[in-house]
């Protein structure tokens, strides 16, 4: 038997909503724990249950390749981690939601990521612009709610509004771009488009390029590439921390999957490739420079991570600009995996520290090396991996990207990449400095970490270090 696991995820979300409404007295965290277990089961199921290629080719808009499968697992893992973060963060959310009962409103806070997950999984397999659009909307709309979730918190509301307006704008770009491409080729399916493009006369290429440009703008919004990154810092800072993590990992990853599929579609025409690769290279360079330079002066860790997520989008775009090299696809996928591990680890440490200190500033980490050595070590590993220090998975990610880019002769991008890596060392080590150089404040409150979060952090640290030294198991497994 074979059918898409997305249906299971969707059903899980609906069942959770029903459980939340019909059993109001249930502890919402139990609900979240149950969801984590089920998502784990689905993750295991992806190894056994796969839709048959025949079925996929029948309906035409669903891709069953290894890339799609990999990103389905990616979405499931990041949703599980988001729920772990959300359980840790639940007391903060509850404080900002008016309600008569304890735990009111928390049910949806745990359920919405599951719907997002379903959207992400559809997106991973989307092989048709209509399907891409629908999946993207499912993801984005559920994110609008999550970002603005703490509705008594001005920052969260502001973040939600900004995300809504700019997200709607980017959706507009996407639809408009799709219509241009449809108008020129008469196709919405990616395969159909590339077949038709092989036969279209050169004269209409400007129109196609215009359409691609608009789609690139929309995807640039999703992956937070400069110059479409203006929403990122405020939204990341204002959103509830688990949502920020989810947004910066899963949403970005899904954006890159779609970007890779779309770019692949148009690369069949050499004339388009000539224009597309420099455009992507330009985006990559701009994103690298902007993200890294803007991160330098940040003092708020959430904002810093927002800029760093722009910077990482830059490295990933360098990989996308290197398409054509056989190593590029693998480099991007490995980088995304590394990015998932280290970003979630950083947010996982951030939540208990900011709960204790009441803020997200880097100075709230002062003396963490003495106050909570285990958590400080986890943060140290996360920061070093984000910076790209050898023996962490983040270094290998950068190594593969640089290798792919040099193979394609993108020397300017590589040089920019190296210079910005040095910037990265500065701002990531600012956190390390706070934890180890600075003394703890006298009245520093104790850091409370739940066993689940502690276990997850240890697990992530182990993965970052082990895969940083011995990535072979994952590399064998990558599409």
């Amino acid at each position: 038997m074979s059918f898409p696991v997305e249906f299971c995820v969707l059903s899980l979300g609906i069942l959770m909503l029903l459980a939340d409404s019909f059993f109001p007295s249930i502890d919402k965290r139990t609900l979240a724990h149950t969801a984590i277990v089920w998502l784990g089961v689905f993750l295991a199921a992806t190894f056994f249950l796969q839709p048959s290629p025949l079925w996929a080719s029948l309906i035409g808009f669903y891709e069953t390749d290894a890339l799609g499968l990999f990103f389905k697992r990616f979405a499931l893992v990041s949703t599980i981690l988001t729920l772990v973060l959300a359980i840790e963060y639940a007391p903060v959310v509850a404080g900002f939601i008016p309600g008569s009962r304890p735990g009111a409103g928390l049910g949806e806070f745990f359920t919405l990521p599951i719907f997002t997950c379903a959207g992400l999984m559809w997106m991973a397999s989307a092989a048709d612009f209509v399907m891409i659009f629908c999946a993207l909307e499912l993801v984005t709309i559920s994110f609008y709610i999550q970002v603005a979730y703490m509705r008594r918190n001005m920052a969260s509301l502001e973040a939600g509004t900004k995300y809504l307006i700019l997200g709607a704008l980017s959706t507009g770009f996407l639809v408009y771009g799709i219509t241009w491409i449809f108008g020129m080729t008469g196709q919405t399916g990616l395969r159909g488009i590339s077949t038709v493009l092989g036969m279209v006369p050169v004269a209409s290429q400007t129109a196609i390029l215009f359409g691609i440009g608009l789609v690139l703008v929309a995807l640039g919004f999703k992956v937070a590439a400069a110059p479409f990154q203006f929403w990122v810092p405020d939204v990341y800072q204002g959103a509830p921390t688990p949502v920020t993590a989810f947004l910066s990992v899963a949403s970005k990853a899904a954006g890159f999957v779609v970007l890779m599929r779309v770019v692949d579609t148009f690369l069949v025409v050499p004339a388009l490739q000539e224009k597309l690769v420099p455009a992507l290279g330009f985006l990559a360079g701009l994103t690298l420079v902007y993200g890294n330079l803007a991160a330098l002066p940040q003092t708020n860790l959430k904002r810093l991570l927002a800029y760093s997520s722009i910077a990482h989008a830059g490295y990933l775009l360098v990989g996308v600009a290197s398409v054509g090299s056989p190593a590029a696809g693998r480099a991007i996928v490995f980088y995304l995996l590394a990015y998932l591990l280290m970003t979630f680890l950083a947010f996982l440490v951030l939540i208990p520290v900011s709960k204790a200190a009441g803020g997200d500033d880097i100075s709230d980490f002062n003396g963490l090396g003495r106050r909570a050595p285990g958590m400080a070590f986890a943060m140290l590993i996360a920061m070093l991996s984000l910076a790209g220090l050898p023996f962490t998975v983040g270094f290998l990610g950068k190594f593969f990207i640089f290798e792919a880019a040099m193979r394609q002769g993108h020397f300017v991008l590589v040089v920019l990449g190296v210079v910005t890596v040095a910037c990265g060392f500065y701002y990531y080590l600012k956190v390390v400095r706070a934890m180890y150089w600075q003394p703890a404040p006298e009245d520093a409150p104790p850091i409370v970490v739940s066993p689940l979060a502690r276990f997850t952090a240890a697990f992530l640290v182990t993965l970052i270090l082990v895969l940083g030294i011995y990535p072979k198991p994952v590399l064998d497994f990558l599409p």
């Binding site: 910076a387 050898p390 270094f395 290798e403 040099m406 500065y426 180890y436 590399l475």
Partner: protein
Amino acid sequence: MSPLLFLILVPLVAAAFIMVGSNARLTALAGSLTNLVFVLVLLAFYRQGDEQPYQFVSSLPVIPSMGISLTLGADGLSLLMLLLASLVTVAAVAEAKTPEKNPHLFYASLMFISAGGLGAFASVNLFFFYMFHELALIPTFLLIGIWGSGDRQAAAWKATIYLALGSFVLLLGLIGLYLIQPDGMRTFDLPAIIGMADAGLLPEGNWIYLLLLVGFGILVSLFPFHTWAPQAYASAPAPAAMLHAGVLKKFGLYGLIRIAAPVFPDAVVQFSNLLLVLLVGNILYVGYVTISQRKLDWMLGYSSVMHMGYIFLGFAALNPVSLTGASLMLFAHGISIAALFALCGEIRERTGTLDFAELGGLAKPMPAFGLLFGFAAMAAIGLPGFVGFAGEILVFFGSFVAGEPLMGVTSGGRELFQFNNYQIATICALWGVVISAVYMLRAYRRVFFGPLNDRWSGLGEISGSARIAIAALIVVMLVTGFFPGLLVKLIESSAL
């Protein structure tokens, strides 16, 4: 388990034990002594003149499709560097004063730096050669930032950013070296790459050589990328300065001798003028800067930058004599600068100042201290009897005969003599010996002789483990200085 992997794991395991709460100093000392003994055993078992230069080889494939594997192996030169690393580690741990603030992190950081150095020198695969060196970056950042002195924060930032940038430039060079290999044969395995270069399979790699030169150059503080080094060494706690200046900084030159010399000999010759100008900058410009220093720690920091110039000269000349001399100097300078930084740390701990204007006459209350410092200073200058002398002589002999004559002085149609840029650089370097004698002897006089300030009359003599450690370093320099043939044989048996 392979013996070299054991060597790398010992400090890492020691660091882990220290972090979970065993006695920090004793664990570190036990770990580093184990390693020293182990390296001596390896030296005894190393078969010189064997067909196979790399011995004790073990290999664990990591990314086979890219030719990346954790391949460890040692030839004569690597063993020499491993000996240097383990010796300096023992001395650094013995010299270390357990700080009140977080002693566990302190000793664990020292162990990590040691593991990084040992791993780099024991790696045959360039990927891990590179990776291991980076293991030392963050411990150095923490050591300078937490336990340093002076403007320690600025020093730590500057050194870390410089080293991170340098290492990524180096990474590009290594990726370039990987990509110019013919498709299908690409690997990071150094002997295989050298084999390809010998077989003429590698195209011209000038830009890769330049990347390697700049990357390694930043790590070795090649002029004009040297400014991080004096500041970092002046601010670092003594054991950190010993390990970094004595061991880690040798990584860059070791890499150039190991990679650039056999793989890109043509590029080295082609860009020799550039390198000669830079290394003369190291020797003369930094030399004069060293003379004008008013503090002992800064002076030692600059002197360590300056001495790199000689080793670069040995590399640039690219003949067996000069390369042997450069390798000897790597060892000699590592030990002498470690002894000097140890002594410098002892003085700082006693007086709280290293300003020449405030010091003076210290030999009166501390004669043994003065004697040790005298020996170490003479060794750093390269006085006959110390191993540094043998190294310098070989470098100068080698570089003086390098290259083709380019210029000549004629008189009445008859050529009086001919010379080239190597000879000019060698003469500048010889003048550098005079410069280093000037600053070392001046420092020695200003600190240990002259009128004794009353503040210092009650200073305690150097004692305990620090005394033994420094004396041992000096004995090693003397023994190898009188019998440099021991080391030269070892180096000649390596895959240079």
